[in-house]
Symmetry: C2
Subunit: 163 residues, 2 copies
């Protein structure tokens, strides 16, 4: 769980990093940036900031923003609705990211990309400058993601304000 | 048909415009930018520059670059291989573009986007500053595109050098 203040701060960081990468957002998009701590309460170490441009029942496009050293924990995208599960292409825009796919290390610098097959275990971690990564994929169903660490809760929960 | 010089010049223009939008390309990507004159030989008026990031059998992502006032002529993406045809989302990054979808005018400024249903007639034209437009879509099969103008040839042809 994260606090509203943590969520706002991470949204602000992500919007600033996207802007520095030349990406123009509407105010509504900046306010809708998802901040995921995976239920572990250690956002700056294990977490992800996500802007979803579009997610139809056929394809999806997102921007992922990571703090320096921030890590998205190992998971896979299983088959659903008769499809083989989400296939996704990561393209590094700014900073750097180290992607691990089925045990292989794939370092990505700006302008480099890699396509992760469906239903394949992967995790990734930003380098010292953080990272902005575009994700192009088939339809996204984050609620179906299967994480290796059983403590993980994918849907972000934000603590309610004390009243 | 375009000449090799026209092709090189348009590739250089597109690479420069993508760079100005903050998009980092590899040298191989810059050299692979597609220059389409639709067989009409009036590239600056009717044409398109295209960088394909990825095109799997499930999804596709491209950048489209247009010269000021350049127009991509009316076409649709028909059903194929048991799919309803290509569905695509245009997101304006720089400049401006006027999109026409089934007779409706949809002007797009940076940060604005629109999703075009499959098998639906559409065309678009850049504003006075040209445009950089991201395209997110289901799988792309440009060779199947159906253009309203029967003179159009989708696959670019480049004149061979005189020897």
């Amino acid at each position: 769980m994260i606090t509203e203040a943590e969520q706002r701060e991470a949204q602000g960081y992500a919007a600033e990093r996207l802007g520095a990468a030349g990406i123009v957002l509407t105010d509504e998009e900046a306010a809708a940036i998802e901040v995921a701590d995976f239920g572990l309460g250690r956002l700056r170490e294990i977490g992800l900031q996500i802007l979803v441009y579009v997610n139809t029942d056929r394809y999806c496009a997102k921007e992922l923003v990571l703090y320096p050293g921030q890590l998205c924990p190992e998971h896979r995208h299983p088959p659903f609705d008769g499809t083989p599960g989400k296939e996704e292409t990561f393209r590094c825009r700014r900073g750097s990211v180290e992607l691990w796919v089925a045990g292989d290390r794939i370092p990505l610098e700006p302008g480099e990309q890699f396509t992760i097959p469906s239903d394949t275990l992967h995790w990734f971690q930003a380098g010292d400058e953080g990272a902005v990564v575009s994700e192009f994929s088939s339809a996204s169903r984050d609620d179906l993601d299967i994480f290796t660490d059983p403590r993980i809760v994918r849907a972000p929960r934000v603590a309610e304000n004390p009243t």
